[in-house]
Amino acid sequence: MPDLLLELFSEEIPARMQAKAADDLRRMVTDKLVAEGLVYEGAKAFATPRRLALTVHGIPARQPDLKSERRGPKIGAPDAAVQGFLKATGLKSLDEAKIQKDAKGDFYIALIEKPGRPAIDVIAEMIPVIIRTFPWPKSMRWGARSAKSGSLTWVRPLHSIIATFGLETEEPDVVKFAVDGIEAGQTTYGHRFMAPGAISVRRFEDYEAKLKAAKVILDPQARKDIILEDAKELAFAQGLELVEDQVLLDEVSGLVEWPVVMMGSFEKEFLSIPDEVIRATIRNNQKCFVVRDPKTGKLTNKFVLTANIEAPDGGKTIVAGNERVIRPRLSDAKFFYETDLKTRLEDRLPKFEQIVFHEKLGTQAERIKRIERLAAEIAPLVGADVEKTKRAARLAKADLLTEVVGEFPELQGLMGKYYALAQGEDASVAAASEEHWKPQGPTDRVPTDPVSVAVALADKLDTLAGFWAIDEKPTGSKDPYALRRAALGVIRIILENGLRLRLADICGPSFWQAATEKRAREVQNETKQPDGTESPRFTKFVVRVDTETFGRRSVPAGVVDLITFFADRLKVQLREQGARHDLVDAVFSTSPSPWWRADAARSAGKLDLIETAGSEAALDSNPPPEEEMQDDLLMVVRRVEALGKFLDSDDGKNLLAGTKRASNILAIEEKKDKRSFDGAPDAALYKLDEEKALAAAIDQVKAEASAAVAKEDFAAAMSAMAKLRPAVDAFFDKVKVNDDDPKVRENRLKLLNEIRAATRAVADFSRIEG
């Protein structure tokens, strides 16, 4: 079967777009072929800086013929109906129609055959449409044709198109089409500098080979392999080791058609700059790799560049040129680094007073103070030294104002660590500069040093609480402040460090602090004297807030909402890890401690304080929702795990079936009687052994399960629960719940209710599916 070769030859395509473009081209062409009934055998797409290419092999030469039948009028129908039928089906006379019998009589049937078209014609029609609708992230117009509207757009000017179609054994045909004046043909061009001449090609095999002869390596993977192998080899030859960098490799391979790898060097004095700064300089600005000494693991004064040509002087000029460019770059970096070292991190802090973090959340300086106070609150809960934590929180963001971070934002945190160590800070304090940003994404590691953990939690919680306080929560797909990521970060830090924390204990102060500060700013503006000075009322407000509020556990509705957000993020996280969502819900809906009730009452007093200082309450003091929830994340996760294991066992499955049955019967009877069957059953009313046995089992299981839960041994709680199963099974086997004696019936329903109550010690079984 014939093959298709397609090449779109243009000016330089941005490296970052090439891989997706090749993929899009393959997908669009093959999807369309299939939609046209042309099922192909295989397809592969390629990209270089100047071309997208696609080979599709094993395409049928023609579309299959399509046959269909069309039912016409009855025999003897009026002439108008017959003529209409002939016209619609293209038959010349009724002689060409078949006659078919059915219950209603004899009908004319037309057999319509739609012959398949030659594939080459179909392709000639579809390619121009694909080119015109190609999904480049950004495309442009060019040249004289751009004077008119509707001219072709492409990522950069498109110069020529190859489209050939044919059998391996024959001279292929050119697929005849033109797009905005560019006629498809069989001509391409070689390397821009080394072989710029026109090349005539027939099919993919000679296309790829002729390009190679014209110094173009079509396959991006082949270019990557060459670059990586040659770069490693060059380093190895000098007893060194290439610092591999996949992202850079991808980019560099998209900047060359004929990779030529060479090594250059720079002055050794630049090695006094931290390795990461050297690497960022050479990588970001020059797209070159760096090289390390395998013995020390430190960078050496070499770099690896990838040129696009084989120069007659062996590349000497190119290497020398690159060295000349890298020198001033490193010289700048060294200057930045040394300048940075002259200023202590704490001396940079006043500048944060001028930098607005968010219009409604104050300056960076205010934010850093909040983080410091919060981190000090959290420190004892995570086993961190309070003084070190405060110091770490105060310094953690200072490197934002350094020259090196200004130049290379990706080194934020890391530079803070270097500068902190250089000025003699404690190792934990220094590490927190880098660690407190983590985790940056789902695959990033989490901090483990307690000081870093405290600062990282404080940083993220202040962000969350702040945006909660000003009601900038994520909605739908909009999350401009990456609050979901921050919440997930908190969750991972807690879980992966096995931390025992009540979310209320950490969210409460965060929220309270952010909300009072926000309110203070509002009061400050509202109460400003006509001459612009501060009102004594405001000063009074500040004193009261400072002395009375911070650190107390207040839980206004905003905090409940924030904790609910955490609960939702945890559910998402657990589901993504494969936990059943119904198990997560079942565990979340049980709660041994409605923790906020008492606190909400206490917080009311503080809301009054704000009322007196300002005109309206800053905090919403709506009562919390009725649904109860868990706020110790580690325990929630352990429960879900234990529950999952239990439900995989026969005991678990049967107990679940039993409790479901009990719940269903209860639901029906509760509805019938319009009452619930809470309360302890009366032992005197038990008539059957199975009733007594179940009651005894429930008492035993309740006690054992509660004891196990109290010890946080959820597996043991589940095992205890399993003991309920035979009694439940026997009860349903032998006992008729709806006894004729209404008192016995009521008592039995109360017993069923007890089963439900007993299982709630670990989870709400009614929420489990299955």
Binding site: G143, A320, I326
Partner: protein
């Protein structure tokens, strides 16, 4: 080229370098203009680019434009940062199909042989928020160094380019330093002579860099500049309003160029104020927006002038 005396060769003298570029582009059919007589941040501001890029009429031009970047002053102490430097600007409308080849030939004309150097076109989307302009193209690299900007204008002064113009901008000092093999801009040989006759870039510009750095960062009269900004803005609006023939029917404009001068002026005054550090981050956006509004209004006027409009 063999007939050139040594002191005129592009790799020996800065002026020879500029002359070689001018000559090359003259041969491609460009009119060789002289610098515009106003202070501006980049060659793109020259009306020969900003305004002439608009409208359907063909236009090919090349010129040197002194570019003022008040914030980039370093008191003459940095080896390659200047508050005043030269850009060489080429604009061809519509963009010819072989513009990349022409560019590479121009490099050869100034002594950069693409057979021994590694020339690359690296993605760079160009956008000028003050001009309401954007385009797609590349930074052109020579052995890892950015030596030119290459842009296909898609929109200028808020107006879609139809047809599209191709724009090339060469950083002359940087390129000449590369070709001459010097590491400090002030060491560039300006006139190609040696010994007592030699004039360097430093001889010509070092004092100016020192003086203007003082001026830009320390002494530029900010009260006056704020006033000048307002005046230029008002004048631009006034000339635009007065330029419509037959009152306000918006069909034919007669004063787009003088109005645009005031837009250039406002832009430069803003750059000076910015260098003096008297414009806050939020105000900055607002000033840029005000200049852009002027540029857009000028673009709109221009496409209703004799030169700017369709046929």
């Amino acid at each position: 080229m063999d007939a050139l005396p040594d002191h005129m060769r592009p790799e020996r003298s800065f002026q020879g370098f500029i002359l070689a570029l001018q000559r090359f582009w003259a041969e491609q059919g460009c009119v060789i203009l002289q610098p515009y007589d106003m202070e501006m941040g980049a060659g793109t501001f020259h009306p020969a680019t900003t305004l002439r890029a608009l409208g359907p009429k063909p236009w090919n031009a090349a010129y040197v434009q002194p570019s003022r970047r008040p914030k980039d002053g370093r008191y003459g102490e940095n080896p390659n940062r200047l508050q005043h430097y030269y850009q060489f600007q080429v604009i061809m409308k519509p963009s010819p199909p072989n513009l990349q080849e022409l560019y590479l030939k121009s490099l050869a004309a100034i002594g950069i042989d693409a057979a021994v150097h590694d020339i690359r076109f690296v993605e760079d989307d160009w956008e000028s928020p003050t001009l309401g302009a954007w385009g797609l193209g590349w930074e052109c690299w020579c052995d890892g160094m950015e030596v030119s900007q290459f842009t296909y204008f898609q929109q200028v002064a808020g107006v879609e380019c139809a047809p599209v113009a191709g724009e090339l901008t060469y950083g002359l000092e940087r390129l000449a330093m590369y070709v001459q093999g010097v590491d400090r801009v002030y060491d560039l040989n300006f006139n190609g002579r040696e010994g007592a006759e030699k004039v360097t870039y430093g001889d010509v510009f070092l004092q100016a860099e020192q003086e203007y750095s003082r001026h830009n960062f320390e002494y530029a009269d900010t009260a006056m500049l704020f006033e000048q900004f307002k005046m230029a803005e008002a004048a631009c609006r006034k000339y635009l309003a007065a330029g419509w023939r037959d009152g306000s029917n918006m069909k034919e404009h007669l004063m787009a160029l003088p109005a645009y001068d005031q837009c250039i002026k406002a832009s430069h005054v803003f750059n000076l104020l910015d260098a003096r550090g008297v414009i806050s981050v939020t105000e900055r956006q607002s000033y840029i927006g005000r200049v852009r509004d002027l540029a857009k209004a000028c673009g709109e006027a221009w496409i209703h002038t004799e030169t700017g409009r369709a046929v």
